[in-house]
Symmetry: C3
Subunit: 253 residues, 3 copies
Amino acid sequence: MSSSVIAPTAVLGAGTRHGEFCVIGENVKIGSGCVIGHHVVIHDDTTIGDNVRIDDHTVIGKNPMKAANSATTKDQQLPACQIGPDCIIGTSVVIYRGSDIARRVLIADLSTVRENVTIGRFTIVGRGVAIENFCKIGMYVKLETNVYVTAYSEIGDRVFVAPCVATSNDNFVGRTEERFKHFKGVTVKRGARLGVHATVLPGKTINEDALVAAGALVTEDVPAHKIVAGLPAKPFRDVPKEQLLENQGWKDE
Amino acid sequence: MSSSVIAPTAVLGAGTRHGEFCVIGENVKIGSGCVIGHHVVIHDDTTIGDNVRIDDHTVIGKNPMKAANSATTKDQQLPACQIGPDCIIGTSVVIYRGSDIARRVLIADLSTVRENVTIGRFTIVGRGVAIENFCKIGMYVKLETNVYVTAYSEIGDRVFVAPCVATSNDNFVGRTEERFKHFKGVTVKRGARLGVHATVLPGKTINEDALVAAGALVTEDVPAHKIVAGLPAKPFRDVPKEQLLENQGWKDE
Amino acid sequence: MSSSVIAPTAVLGAGTRHGEFCVIGENVKIGSGCVIGHHVVIHDDTTIGDNVRIDDHTVIGKNPMKAANSATTKDQQLPACQIGPDCIIGTSVVIYRGSDIARRVLIADLSTVRENVTIGRFTIVGRGVAIENFCKIGMYVKLETNVYVTAYSEIGDRVFVAPCVATSNDNFVGRTEERFKHFKGVTVKRGARLGVHATVLPGKTINEDALVAAGALVTEDVPAHKIVAGLPAKPFRDVPKEQLLENQGWKDE
């Protein structure tokens, strides 16, 4: 006997358990061995792999909201939300329809993942992180607590973003018709790292294995393998050899 | 048949739908054509206009909490929460009793709006924004993701606040009895703009159509139509003409 | 008649009320006179004192998540979550198993408190605050809105942290095996204060009754009773006498 409301067309795999007061919509497919908490909402058409953990109060497959006044959200037909096997999704997370999340990803409490987002395998999305629409997040990425990834950003494999880093995508700060042609998120190339409370301006690129120091304001592209620091950020030395990605001995699975 | 718990004195307009496990309190009035998600809680006496969308897990009309130790929250009789027509309220939003929200406002996921707050029409409150108590937010304002609006602030019409901007209201940083006389939020005048990760100190005013650059720390009032940047922020040039509010051709509805 | 699901082994004290659709687990003990909102989840073994208020959608006693890829979360046996009497817990808060919260603490909306955390009496944890695992928070502390307390931090009694302050604990920014030996949060000693949007680097100590100015980046230990400011932060004068903790006339209860 369960208090949950499960659509007749939803399919739950063998050994998958769910808590009280869940709502599981039409055509949802959930793999085997999943553990779903209380008050979880899984909207229509979502597909979830095997052995996924989803904690209380999380919402998956949400349809976007369209403000009267929005610059980036348009009405559109979105593919169903896809969550790969062995993922862990925390409490009060919101994942939109039109997102595609690979296997073994962790998405911690109170994070949001918007539509038209892909996240690669083994990536960690920390507590309170916001990934806006039209972002591509690589594999083995770490986005630490409260990181803000603006719309139209691209984050490469093995990137590390420390807590409370902010990004932006509008150099015109909400003015002129011109700006709609120039909206551009940030690009962080493979293995690059950003320190706590750093800021990256619209359209800037952090190149391979570069390091942005804590509190730095990135106003120009950052060269590969360089450390930049300050406000605005200036290069001041090379990334130490023992910290380079190629010297970690890490292998992709 | 519905799993929701709706008080006998609540009134829902024609065509208004709600999801599973909602709780709708005494004397709540909801207009027609609304779409209310799952697990939504609407506390006693709240009034909601026509065609409002409210997403899963949102709480409206919450009574304030009073810490043993709080500097700004007092026991008080609050008017009921009011939400105008055509608003969109996201997932896991918390809106307090004693707030008044005009028509066509968007309040995105995980935002909080405290008591004694007014928000003007067509304003966008981004994901994770916190608007503290005793704030007045104008119309056509954009508060982007994770913006923090401190108590006792006033944000004028057509203001644009980029993601992760922070404000404060206590120059004495929690010390002296004197400070209770000086609590003052920030004032942002019509059309002014703040860049990503900017910080505004207590009591400061950003004047009409001024622009605070990304990452700047505002320690003095900002003159109208000027751009300021740096830590602390200093004026460095005028806002380009084509970016001035008067040159956008925008009309209020 | 109640829609909530309460385990037969759970014990609720006299006069304790709860809302709709709550889930209260095995061996939970709740004192008398508590007011629990709607959709609240209290996981197994949690103990809650008398006269505690818990608002809608809050989760207490959550089991940690273990990412394939995490640097600080290990499998472990955790003691049950303990919440002292006269606490107020806001909406959509997440408190983990293995946390111990003293009496008269306020934890505001959308905050998270991880495992292996202690919080002293009369402390205020503001809206959206994240306290990571292995932190010790003193009594009469104020952590304002959106403060981020990194893992392995220690915050002394009567500390004041202004909104949007960020901290970090990994000087190697996610690289080298060496870093696991050096993980260290921040230490904030009794009565110290941090201004809005300040940043503190890994392992740094803010000494007794020091003051970090708004927006400052703390890269070295801060001496007692000194004010530091800038990026990086430099000492620039003494804390004014009338603001020193010893001159406030405050007494511990």
